[in-house]
């Protein structure tokens, strides 16, 4: 390595920021895998379930097509997933109230409880960490994360499509 690495010359504070972020992301991914392991579920299953619970709280019905869009999966794969989650007692299918050709998917109370138990505590902890920021600090953190996200999105766009898009297909 002939050149000096960037972190030898960059301001110490920016080195710390990027190191913290990367470490956080690593810890977060480990946490996600632990959750999936403990619930015996795949990433997509868990995301579908969380989406169902959120939509239910907002009073929005969810169709299989909504899930296909959310997860970037084909409707045939969604059907397989729904069969699995029905068999495991996590979801229920019901006729759509206004569209007779469609159905709505709801999470069962058991699934609600399971997700709450696993993710609820953590979400509360995260919220309380974020709530400890004052208005200016919250602004600093949010603006910084937004510019990082914008940079990453620009780089992604410049480099063309990626292989998969499970975790990132959530923007809409």
């Amino acid at each position: 390595m002939p050149e000096q690495p960037w972190y030898e010359t960059a301001p110490a504070s920016s080195v710390r920021v990027l190191r913290s972020l990367r470490t956080y992301r690593a810890a977060e991914q480990a946490m996600r895998r632990r959750t999936r392991e403990s619930m015996k579920m795949g990433e997509a299953d868990l995301r579908a379930l969380r989406f169902l619970l959120k939509s239910e709280a907002e009073g929005k019905p969810v169709t299989p097509n909504d899930l296909a869009v959310l997860l970037g999966m084909k409707s045939s794969s969604i059907t397989i997933m729904l069969d699995r989650l029905t068999a495991s007692g996590h979801i229920r299918r019901a006729p759509h109230p206004s569209d007779r050709r469609s159905i709505v998917i709801t999470a069962t109370p058991g699934a609600d409880e399971e997700v709450r138990e696993t993710l609820g505590d953590m979400h509360r902890r995260l919220l309380s960490v974020a709530a400890a920021l004052d208005e200016d600090q919250a602004e600093v953190v949010t603006a910084f994360l937004a510019s990082l996200t914008a940079s990453l999105d620009r780089m992604s766009a410049a480099e063309g499509p990626a292989a998969g898009h499970i975790e990132n297909s959530q923007q809409k």
């Binding site: 960037w6 913290s20 946490m31 919220l127 996200t149």
Partner: protein, 176 residues
Amino acid sequence: MTTNKSGSTPHYWYGQEAERQRAVTVLEAMRAYGAADAAMQRRSEHAMRMSENDISALRYLLRANERGVSVGPKELADYLGVQSSSITILLDRLEKAGHVRREPSPFDRRALIIVPTVPTDELHKAILGDIREELIDVAGSLSEKDAETIVEFIDRLRDAVDHIDTAASSHTRAKR
């Protein structure tokens, strides 16, 4: 903005709701960053980049090492949320790279412990080595004070995320 004309008493719930909303906005920004980072990560998989799994594994081992605690493959697999077959592959790779060493446990010769052989600052360098230039520029434009705010916040979030696995053990660990 809503204005309140119902009297001089400040509406407590409104302040609380505003605070909650602010916290949600921050976490939403974090989530969006995570999604963008994950997308980028999938792109750089072929590139020479230390995986998040490797970082988490080494961090866990180094922290345990600092506390004088030894870690076996099972405990590490539990922390990472991976199956024991995957942990073997991961350890093979880390051992080959000279980051860890497997040793017989001093308490049970049939069991293995994993000893980190990479110093903390080496891990830090490895984490930093593959960060993209564009991101370095964004971080470089922060004032020192803002950078400090961000680091403190993110480290606290990280502890909150790490909490799950340490919760059980730290509650029962009455003595230090």
